[in-house]
Amino acid sequence: MTKPILELRHVVTKVNRNTPEELTLLKDLNLTINEGDFITILGSNGAGKSTLFNTIGGNLSIDSGDILLRGESIANESEERRTRFLSRVFQDPKLGTAPRMTVAENLLLATKRGEHRHLVPRHLNQHMAEFKKMTSGMGNGLNERLTTPTGSLSGGQRQALSFLMATLKKPDILLLDEHTAALDPKTSQELMTATNDRIIAQKLTCLMITHHLDDALKYGNRLIVISDGKITYDVSGEEKQQLTQEKLFSFFSDLQE
């Protein structure tokens, strides 16, 4: 029996509160994420996919409802505090890494995700062998560039690094926000394969936003569709396995009408 790790109950998220531009982005959204779930998320632009991530991540505060981590409310925890259990990879390769710091320095920062950082030496050299091994697993030459500032890496290398940084210290929840979308098709496929391998190997609980229907079908054990701030479709297990692009397409066109 799998246990719920994260629950969103009747979550309402608004932006530009108390102004004429007030918008309700999540409208009474309910979602229960079980330990080990790999959920792919589909939805049209503006449906609330990124809002969902920002709400879970604490960048946006909720107006009503509750967010529970293993049964305890985290709705009032700051973005920084939530990084103890949560990590994320952004769509923009520039957002995930510090450009003037080296690959190894970036990785070292990630080893202490969500921890207090003290006035103690960082001991970079003791981690180098471990970093070398880890980066060679990505198969894109990242292991040769450990002492290079990340600003001079390719987009694919940067996203691979961002992904490694997000999973280096095992998170309870991993959020992937179209992390392969900015890359060329080949690099994108390679990173997606590496992502899937690592999620399975580490038994990570992961939510992945994607615009690729075939990726959404191919990866993960559960698929949800968000439209107009709500979850309108939620399949898992056997039912997801049998889902086809045609079925999804017809579902989307139903929504449009």
């Binding site: 920084e80 990084t83 995930g96 890494t97 510090a98 070292l108 995700r113 006035l119």
Partner: protein, 302 residues
């Protein structure tokens, strides 16, 4: 005589390098210009001189100057992070407020002298040093300690979180780094170092003046930028050393300007011109494509 001037320039360069090192933390690492320094520098000077005039030991008086500097940094940091005031304006607000505070510290006078009072330069260990060498020894000691402390700090977990905050705030926050605290800490340390600079310069000059902060940000920036232009691509630790060398180079530029017959009233104009020219070096480099010209020059000799 010329030798004496050279030694004096090195001494001045070393003492003023504290400003460059302090500003480096905000300007180059946090990546924003902190105007607070124009108020912090005279405040460090005023606090130090006032304390010595009140019979406090020069070493303690210098530490007090560091303390008031950190308070200025704290004020700017809180306005910037918690008050959401843009950093440039937050710095100008604190700098302006500091002017009044400095006059208070100096009991309403615009100038406070250290005549016949003890100072760090009159410590027994400097008693037998030849003219101008006292400031070189003092400056050198302070700069070596300060540089080593900064190098250590930047290599700690905390220092790395501080660097990451300036480099990519979104990433830093997503790794659980409290970026607001890092900025406040950076502003405090930076302004503490600049308060120290004010205390050292005041003790070297023998007085504190309420107007001595005007244009110091240009001098501090000049140290940083001259160091970068002169030495090019460097590691973080080397860059810290380059700031001090840049500060000394800058003093020699001023010396040349004075030797050319300009007087000290013209120095602020020259400070700005020197800094502006140095900051435009990349533009000039592109414009004249110097590298290609040099390479061609070398290849034809082959």
């Amino acid at each position: 005589m010329t030798f004496g001037l050279g030694v004096s320039a090195i001494g001045q360069g070393l003492l003023w390098a504290t400003l460059g090192l302090g500003l480096f933390l905000t300007f180059r690492i946090l990546d924003f210009p902190d105007m607070t320094v124009e108020g912090t520098f005279p405040m460090g000077a005023a606090a130090c001189v006032a304390a010595i005039n009140n019979g406090i030991n020069p070493i303690w008086a210098t530490l007090i100057a560091i303390g008031v500097g950190m308070l200025c940094g704290l004020a700017t940091g809180l306005l910037y992070t918690k008050g959401r005031i843009p950093i440039l304006l937050a710095g100008i607000l604190v700098m302006t407020a500091a002017y009044s505070v400095n006059l208070r510290i100096m009991h309403g006078r615009s100038n406070l002298t250290l005549l016949d009072k003890p100072s760090l330069l009159k410590l027994p260990i400097f008693a037998h040093s030849p003219m101008y060498f006292d400031s070189v020894f003092l400056g050198f000691t302070v700069i070596v300690i300060l540089t080593l402390v900064l190098i250590y700090f930047l290599q700690t977990d905390l220092g790395q979180a501080f660097i990451a905050t300036g480099d990519n705030e979104t990433m830093a926050r997503s790794l659980g780094i409290k970026t607001d605290n890092m900025k406040i800490m950076g502003l405090m340390v930076s302004n503490g170092v600049i308060g120290l600079g004010g205390a050292l310069v005041a003790q070297n000059d023998g007085y504190a003046d309420v107007n001595m902060g005007i244009g110091v940000i240009v001098i501090a920036l000049a140290s940083i930028i001259i160091g970068e232009v002169a030495f090019g691509e460097l590691t973080m630790n080397q860059r810290l050393v380059a700031v001090t060398l840049g500060s000394i180079l800058y003093r020699f530029v001023l010396l040349v300007v004075l030797k050319l017959g300009f007087n000290t009233n013209d120095l602020k104009l020259f400070s700005s011109v020197v800094l502006a020219l140095c900051m435009m070096v990349p533009v000039f480099r592109d414009m004249f494509n110097l590298k290609r010209v040099w390479k061609r020059g070398i290849s034809t000799h082959d």
